[in-house]
Symmetry: C2
Subunit: 366 residues, 2 copies
């Protein structure tokens, strides 16, 4: 028996989570997975209930659980709160406290949705790239940090971008290993592109150097390349299919993974995993809490449903169940069902559906 903690969070979080939970329950029965579900509070709803974006009780239950399924956090309601108490802090804290250092974000083009992208079809058709983002270090967690008053009376804000060799090795290993797994599955050669800004930042010079040493010492079967972050941001637009696995630090990873997601035109479809050293993980959609459409049954639940599939694959090693969910999602797209965010009004034969109807359609396919 294993336990999953669900944290619906804010905005569209509760709606998408409701659908994902139904899907999770259905595969739990179908594949006799013996999973138990619990729920807890995080983000703005947790602030409202307890004053804290990540209450101790939630953290304790997350530690005890085998996996966490997260909706989304944040919204304008909590924007004016003192920064140490904002919804996002709950997210950063749970990542840090659970040691979820490896964030995997897949940018995959669904052929059914190719038109939704801003990018020309020939540039992105068949796109399937994985960004491995370091998630518990770098400038997100570095000390010292803050805002101070200088002697001349003006204010100064400061943050510290910091990485040690072992932190870099830990995430590098994840990237190299995943590149090998992916290459094996696809019958191609394994390759990793490490993104840094080593021409300016010493911390990323250590990053680059460490990746080079790792590749030499243990991954000579993986082709390693390096790219500056600014160039990587360009190359993702120019020719994203040149990449297979990209690995980078917390801040560059935040930016590049969002960019890669947007290339597909359907960020509402993209799941993510954040793993610790033992494979325990937190799974969540790449999109945010979308407060503008919250509570209107307009949200796309598929990224959260696909996050369930990732959870079954990475934490519970239930490949068959994971693929069943992914197939069901592909089937509803084939049937022409579209939430608003992925609806192409110029295409014939599509049916606009709400969050609930989309979730139920996936359920029906299972």
């Amino acid at each position: 028996m294993a336990t999953i903690l669900t944290l619906a969070g804010d905005g569209i979080g509760p709606e998408i989570m409701t659908q994902a939970i139904e899907v999770l329950k259905a595969v739990n029965d179908k594949f006799s997975l013996d999973l138990t579900l619990e729920s807890g509070l995080i983000g703005g709803v947790a602030i409202d209930a307890t004053g804290e974006p990540l209450p101790d009780e939630t953290l304790a239950r997350a530690r005890a659980a085998d996996a966490v399924l997260l909706g989304a956090v944040g919204g304008p309601k909590w924007d004016a709160i003192e920064r140490s108490k904002r919804p996002e802090r709950g997210l950063l804290k749970i990542r840090g406290e659970l040691g979820l250092f490896a964030n995997l974000r897949v940018a995959k083009l669904y052929p059914q949705l190719a038109n939704a992208s801003s990018i020309k079809p020939e540039i992105i058709s068949g796109l399937d790239l994985l960004i491995v983002r370091e998630l518990t270090g770098g400038i997100y967690f570095g000390e010292p940090r803050g805002i101070r008053t200088l002697e001349n009376g003006e204010q100064q804000g400061y943050n510290t971008m910091v990485y040690s060799t072992s932190e870099i090795q830990r995430i590098g290993k994840v990237a190299f290993e995943l590149a090998k797994t992916r290459a094996q599955a696809a019958g191609t050669a394994a390759k990793v592109c490490s993104v840094d800004k080593a021409n300016v930042l010493e911390v990323t010079e250590l990053w680059k150097q460490t990746m080079i040493e790792m590749q030499k010492a243990g991954y000579s079967d993986v082709a390693l390349s390096h790219m500056y972050a600014d160039n990587a941001c360009m190359q993702l637009i120019k020719d994203p299919k040149q990449f297979d696995v990209m690995v980078t630090g917390n801040m560059f990873g935040d930016i590049l993974s969002d960019e890669a997601a947007m290339l597909t035109g359907s960020i509402g479809m993209l799941p993510s995993a954040s793993l610790d050293e033992s494979g325990k993980g937190m799974y969540e959609p790449c999109h945010g809490s979308a407060p503008d459409i919250a509570g209107q049954d307009k949200a796309n639940p598929l990224a959260t449903i696909l996050s369930v599939a990732m959870m079954l694959r990475y934490t519970f090693k239930q490949e068959e169940a994971a693929q069943a969910i992914e197939q069901a999602v592909s089937d509803v797209l084939d049937d022409g069902l579209r939430t608003l965010d992925i609806l192409d009004s110029s295409e014939a034969g599509l049916k606009q559906v709400g969050c609930k109807e989309m979730g139920q359609a996936v359920l029906a396919k299972l």
Copy 2:
């Protein structure tokens, strides 16, 4: 009489500079500008000649000059040099020493080149956005920085992202003022989007707060919006025309300005200006030194030629001469002349030309 220091630099730098200088001399004569040209060393060529990427002599002459025209720096030849002596350090040092805090990068779509972009035409047609990047602060220049050995024997790299209120105000002012100028010229409402990561980084929280206060105090006629860097990176792909002027720090600006440039598909066309508080500036193409095509007469000289136009506009207030150059560039594109980087082989009636022929064609139009 005014003096311009030209620094050709490395890779394709000398070729593109040769063409830009000829154009500069031609407008100097035609508009009786009384400009004197000098040349100096920076980057790899300076390392080879003097051991330093920015020799004191170059810096002294740059200080004495009224404007600097730069080609590009860097290349694999100098990659293995100890970091304090690499070509890029010369670039960072001249920016810092001359106080060139305001970097203006225009991402403009040339209608003649619309096909060169990865982005669908309807998303980018008419695109003309300005990124105002802070260039002498932030994590590029922040202290402490370095790589140290920890007590446990492993290494740790660290950099500091830091901004004070006055640094933010200084660049904010440039953005607000340029937004007003642009809006006036276009007959539209002025707007600025400030990009930060205030949900995570205290330094950018101060950035955001300072922008809000400036807008309230002195720029109520400019609409100010805020966007997180990751979202900005997505929005640039999804709908770049929502932006007019974007303002951000050194690191986010590095990434976002390259992304914006790539949207146009023709980074070989885009000039930039880096200005100090008095309006003195260094002008350079947005592209790099492209060592792979250096010395082969394949480079596109237009970004450097357009940088001359920016110089005439911003430092010398010679709008007429600036427009004459811009018109000549547009004319050669109309004539179908294309260097390799902007050649669309599926389009009829184009003529592939080298760097020299392109430069001479612009000259002929003047």
